[in-house]
Amino acid sequence: MSLTPAPLLEMRGISKSYGGVKALTDVDFVARRGEIHAVLGENGAGKSTLIKIAAGVVTPDTGTLAVDGAPRAFASPQEATGAGIVCMFQELSLLPDLSVADNIFITSPPRTRLGLIDRRAQRRRAEELLARVGCEDIDPATRIRDLPLSRRQMVEIAKAVGRDPALLILDEATSALTAADVEKVYTILHKLRADGLALLYISHRMHEIEALADTLSVFRNGRRVDTFAKGAHSDDAIVQMMIGREFANVYPAKPKRAAPPPPVLQADRLTFSPGLNGVSLTVGKGEIVGIGGLDGQGQRELLLALFGVLAGVGGTVKIDGTARRIGSPADAKRPEIGMALIPEDRKTEGLMLPMSVAENITAASLGAVTKGVVIDRAGEADNVGRMVKEMQIKVGDLAAPVATLSGGNQQKVVIAKWLLTKPKIILLNDPTRGIDVGTKEEIYALLRRLADEGAAVVLYTTDYAELIGCCDRVLVMYEGRVTAELTGEAITETNIVSAALNLAAETAA
């Protein structure tokens, strides 16, 4: 690696606005060969916009773009791919109904002499590629639809790598990956760097940046604030650069408890096929219980089962000591149960994107502001105003579609929607995925405040640090069962990881 590697992509004076929003203002940006360049910034800082411009998805208002010194203007992702720029977008670009192999070779499959797709060769090469990214377990003939999100991200990585990029861009490519998979990604990226590729890496996880990046660029409000080599600034300094203010302790303090709190939610031997093999858990008033473990061990099913989404769940659920049958989210919402779920994918499960922010916020609590059959508009507006203030949702026009908010604010809208139902039990499925540190911090504080106000919180997350920092108790799941319960000081990364891998049982056997 030479000291100043050659610039592969040079962007000069790039600006882009969406209506009144300036997504990018006069940005210069350079990506060099043999270098992993991390791009950091809050939600809405303009990162995705920048890379979408590089990848030909978005055309800039002003500014120029050069590849290997030659000026280029991309009209579509196709053209960018042709120039060796391959992007793994934040919103995955996999096709659910096509097989893994079809997806990997979607634009340029191996062909037979007749020019038709050579399925056999395609399968073989897909297997090779998957092996390269350490996913031998994925069968190339499987439909994407049948894979969990974490596997899909690995396929997406294999697909990107398979396109022989000169510049590979990963926009929050690891947001749903477990630690083990992230390790694999590290290995690949290091190897690609050694091969002389230029890599752009966008992530909200500082430890990933730590492990990977050579160079870091920080964006704030559509401007590039600074670019520097790794180690030039401390983490705290970087975060401060990102959010433009001092930043102290990410996680709020946990309360000390003498006796276990009274149970609010008690689930006994829940079974569901596939996924749950007899899960029991108790969540007390004011408690935040974390659910950990490797991805796909039944955690999602557990939340969905509790919320009444799954059919054919065995076992019993008691709310405040009374056995309840929860057959649908509408049941779960009833006051005597008082449950809320912040779903996994806010765009398809949490929000009606084209509808207004206000309509989204009140979507779960219209019953409360309905008089007779008529919606009390004043009452509704009050609720919306209160929530926007309380949750500090950054929104200009409450009547604008919720799609125009940045990811973090969209997530706040989802949470606000449920807080209006005054829930006793709050289930969260990876609520901070792809959300910047500043907003994360607000969410952690919010969860603790809700717990202190008496809610029982169940938090599933793929981020160990969140389990450690946020939770009073952590249940680690393995193959549809709770294999370990960690409390207090015992909630450490080592304990979580060993429980997640079910090491105790493995060595005993």
Binding site: V57, S328, A330, P343, T348, P354, A364, A399
Partner: protein
């Protein structure tokens, strides 16, 4: 990019592109028709109140049908059973006769809506195909009914009152259309049901996870659609003084076209009621002007198609899939 689509969801008054264009096209159609009559008759009949009231009178039946159709299109569904729902509602009502008949007609609408809603919401058969089957079943039922013995087909007093009569020159069918419209606008804008309909049309999973009883909402939309269809069918029978087989066949495609020309997305979730009204008026006038101009069927079809495409092209208003 999404200006009109988003505007459609804003509660405050905004000028809606589809509506503006619809009005412009209506003016255009009237102008062409008037030129024709000026040339052939030397009169501007198309602008006479008498003619326009007549158009509203007979257009009201399409208006009511389209209003119902819009309820299911807003959810991203469609109801292809409308033609024979109209027909069988009217036929059952006249066969039984009297007030009992009127109630029976409405009851049939209720039943059809329930079955359609059940098939779509609970069995989750695509509405396109379930309602198509339903249409055949209703046709079969009416053939069976007529096959037994010729049922009475004279419109009941209520049907004649609604479909044919006027008060102070105002056709009752128009009043009925206004009432139905008011009721539906109320549902869409003032009630939780309306909000949920838009929510389901936009993102059903999110609505479900928000604790909305999505299946009941879908049932309700199909109910409204079928009820509108039988109301339209029964008043149409009043207009014609009698119910007859296949009387609804001319209403299916025009009602869908009216809803879409009015700016409702066929994928659901977006659309304003006022647009549908404009769409109905446009189609009724277009059909009538072409009739009066004694346009040959072939050219009539072509003009019909070209007008639809032209209007939609002018406000290429489909949700953009990519930027």
């Amino acid at each position: 990019m999404t200006s009109s689509a988003t505007a459609a969801r804003k509660p405050r008054f905004t000028v809606d592109l589809p509506i503006v264009i619809g009005v412009v096209f209506i003016a255009l159609i009237l102008a062409v028709g008037t030129l024709y009559t000026l040339k052939t008759q030397g009169t501007a009949t198309f602008l006479s109140p008498n003619y326009l009231v007549l158009q509203l009178h007979s257009g009201a039946f399409l208006g009511i049908t389209a209003a119902g159709m819009m309820m299911v299109i807003l959810l991203g569904h469609i109801d292809l059973s409308v033609p024979w729902t109209m027909t069988s509602g009217a036929m059952i009502a006249t066969a039984i006769g009297g007030t009992t008949g009127d109630l029976a007609g409405l009851g049939l609408g209720l039943a059809v809506g329930l079955v359609n809603g059940f098939g779509v919401a609970f069995l989750r058969v695509p509405s396109m195909i379930f309602t198509l089957g339903m249409n055949t079943v209703l046709l079969g039922l009416m053939v069976m009914l007529t096959g037994g013995h010729a049922p009475q087909s004279a419109a009941t007093d209520m049907m004649t009152f609604l479909g044919a009569e006027r008060t102070l020159g105002v056709p009752h069918s128009v009043v009925l259309w206004v009432l139905v419209s008011a009721a539906l606008v109320f549902v869409l804008t003032r009630t939780a049901l309306g909000r949920y309909m838009y929510a389901i049309g936009n993102q059903e999973a999110a609505a479900y996870l928000s604790g909305v009883k999505t299946r009941l909402v879908i049932m309700a939309a199909f109910l409204m659609c079928s009820l509108c269809a039988v109301i339209a069918g029964m008043s149409l029978a009043g207009y014609s003084a009698r119910a007859f087989q296949a009387m609804g066949d001319q209403y299916l495609l025009p009602s869908i076209a009216a809803v879409v020309l009015g700016g409702t997305t066929i994928l659901g979730g977006q659309g304003r009621y006022s647009g549908t009204v404009i769409g109905v008026i446009l189609i009724v006038l277009l059909q009538s002007v072409l009739n009066v101009m004694q346009m040959e069927e072939a050219y009539r079809q072509i003009i019909y198609g070209v007008v639809i495409i032209a209007m939609l092209l002018i406000y290429g208003r489909q949700r953009t899939a990519h930027r």
